[in-house]
Symmetry: C2
Subunit: 386 residues, 2 copies
């Protein structure tokens, strides 16, 4: 929701802002005039400008992937980034980009359209993950970075990374693709479509014209709950909650209040989320995930990947992920192998489902550690499937 | 929604109505005064009154499981019931009960409370599957049936059948439990809780006081879509829809209308459902599923089953069911084995998920056929897991 003007007053924060000059053309038509890209960095760019790790995020996180001197709050991938962490900031210059279309500093539907002086809202053009990738590339150009040590993306960020890799096939020397797919499958599309409908059917949404202090909280809370259900696994919830009852009884007269701990848990966490994320941004990013299909680049996945020069590709999947099931990571790995890339496919037995990369650090840390140490043998020893 | 008075005028239909005399006590407190149980039958009761197959349904179907002379419309299990069908009506007298709490003839929240002359709505007492089972038993008592050849239940009907079996351990000589569990797991509870919230958060719900011509259609449609997503499997949808686009473009200005066939499919089928089912009934039946726990009967599943005398237990599960995952059917089968019952556990590879029993007749027909022919060896040859 920040405009470039607000950005200028907050340059002392960890979050940095780049305003792209001129018209930024969107893949499905339309342009953004001088959009902003928000990002954070950790570590130092070396003299050759070739020690860079670029991270594209999942749908809802900001660029604040880890804490720093300027912003000591823990980031969404805190345990992965820092000195002596897998993305070791003594060696690498790590950049995390807030996706174009999001609401954490980058230009999105909740930003002001300079043409009208009003918020974009639904006048924001159709967003694709290719646009998100292009905004990330524009940032690299601005920073004078022509080669990445690695491009890393979990979830939607993994699809954005795939888009980046085929659009700029010589830039990333390695790829780390986590819990993502070469396209959205109908099951995931059905879930996301339903989430979008929950928001759009909330009367408070007002066709996207809601006031800042009256957003469609109910729709967002429902959508978030469905997200939480699909981001984790049934096994985990059985372990965590069993048949445990909520501590307090329903409020009097509330026949359908929560009976079980799992219901209270969802309510608690959905409440936390809904104050933070802009509903229109959510709609655009959610649809961008559905629209993504790697095969759009050349007619097939194989054709899309044929020019990608990355020397190493690490694909990580989780057996309990049913939003991006493990077959999708196998498909990506096989396609890169076919394209002549050296590929490690790691299938992790984490029970936290799609969200495992955010919470099962014990499983993910050694894989990323070995990868960023160049210890391919160690990766092959960890649940490797190739 | 029918009262006993309407019932009397429609006795020529296939649907029959029994009014239970006096106060029907509900498990969690409260009574229903002279509630109605709606049911249909096929075939003839034999002289010994021992050729009866009783069916409890899933959450939303009526008692119209199959067509008949009086009602030629196809039923929800049309291919299973009839002459030379698995439930062969030349041999068996088949009864299907509309669950207490539903809105297809049995008394539920959409029925008139005789104490007030108004609809029960949320004054209906808490509903449990034990109450549904007890209403079924009252029907058997009325019909003078003391022994069942078999008790059959898919989905919620399977849990109702388990409740019936432990409450009346000597009545069913065999059990057929399909795609159900001994309790609801937190994942399924989370989904159902979210469905209930979608309805309750629809402003049209009006705390259950909606007018007959203004029900909470949006909430019901969203809940039905989530149901459809969870009743089927991701694999099936990939096969059916792939990345196929909808035939028509969005309506002008509808930025978030359906892009993909899977979205149009959900919309089409959800529209069909929402006119039919009463929202308050949906809430009660959904919560009854969550509240069910076989272990409530004696402290553990083993304790619950120890007096059940059924000579044969057939448990059928589907590998792609993630609402009642296959582990739940294994658990039921093992518990019956431990209780000394002869058990067949069949794990079917159908890709239609939880709904397979309604649609994958090629997989289910031979299993039920063999069971009702007493051909246990044939069952063991079909994907048997024991």
């Amino acid at each position: 929701m920040r405009s470039a003007i607000i950005a200028a007053t907050t340059m002392t924060e960890a979050r940095q802002y780049l305003t792209l000059p001129g018209a930024f053309e969107m893949r499905h038509g339309g342009v953004l005039e001088s959009p902003t890209v928000a990002y954070e960095t950790w570590g130092e760019l070396n003299e050759n400008r070739d020690n860079v790790v670029l991270i594209f995020t999942g749908m809802s996180p900001s660029a604040h992937a880890a804490s720093s001197r300027l912003d000591p709050a823990p980031g969404w991938w805190e345990e992965m980034i820092g000195p002596s962490r897998p993305l070791d900031t003594r060696r690498y210059f790590v950049i995390c980009v807030n996706s174009l279309g999001s609401c954490y500093g980058s230009t999105g539907p909740a930003s002001i359209d300079p043409a009208s002086g009003e918020l974009y809202r639904l006048n924001f053009p159709v967003l694709t993950l290719e646009d998100v990738a292009a905004a990330g590339k524009a940032l690299l150009d601005h920073l004078g970075i022509t080669s990445l040590y690695s491009l890393v993306g979990p979830s939607m960020g993994g699809m954005t990374s795939l888009a980046f890799a085929v659009m700029y096939p010589d830039v990333a020397r390695s790829l780390v693709l986590i819990s993502c797919g070469a396209r959205s499958l109908p099951f995931a599309t059905a879930l996301r479509s339903l989430q979008r409908e929950m928001i759009r059917k909330d009367p408070a949404w007002q066709d996207g014209q809601y006031a800042a202090d009256a957003p469609p909280l109910t729709g967002m809370r429902l959508a978030r709950k469905l997200g939480m259900i699909t981001y984790r696994s049934a096994q985990e919830w059985t372990q965590r909650f069993g048949r445990e009852r909520t501590a307090q009884e329903h409020e009097t007269g509330d026949m359908f209040g929560p009976d079980f701990s799992v219901e209270s848990y969802l309510e608690h966490h959905a409440q936390k989320f809904t104050g933070q994320f802009d509903a229109n941004c959510y709609l655009y990013l959610s649809r961008a995930s559905d629209l993504f299909d790697l095969a759009d680049h050349g007619g097939s996945i194989d054709a899309a990947l044929k020019n990608v020069t990355a020397g190493r590709v690490l694909v990580i999947g989780v057996e309990t992920d049913f939003l991006f099931p493990i077959e999708q990571q196998r498909q990506i790995a096989k396609a890169f192998e076919k394209a002549g890339r050296r590929v490690n496919l790691v299938e992790l037995p984490s029970i936290q489902g799609h969200d495992s990369f955010l919470v099962d650090m014990d499983a993910f840390r050694p894989v990323l550690c070995s990868f960023f140490n160049g210890d391919w043998q160690a990766i092959s020893n960890i649940c490797s499937a190739l």
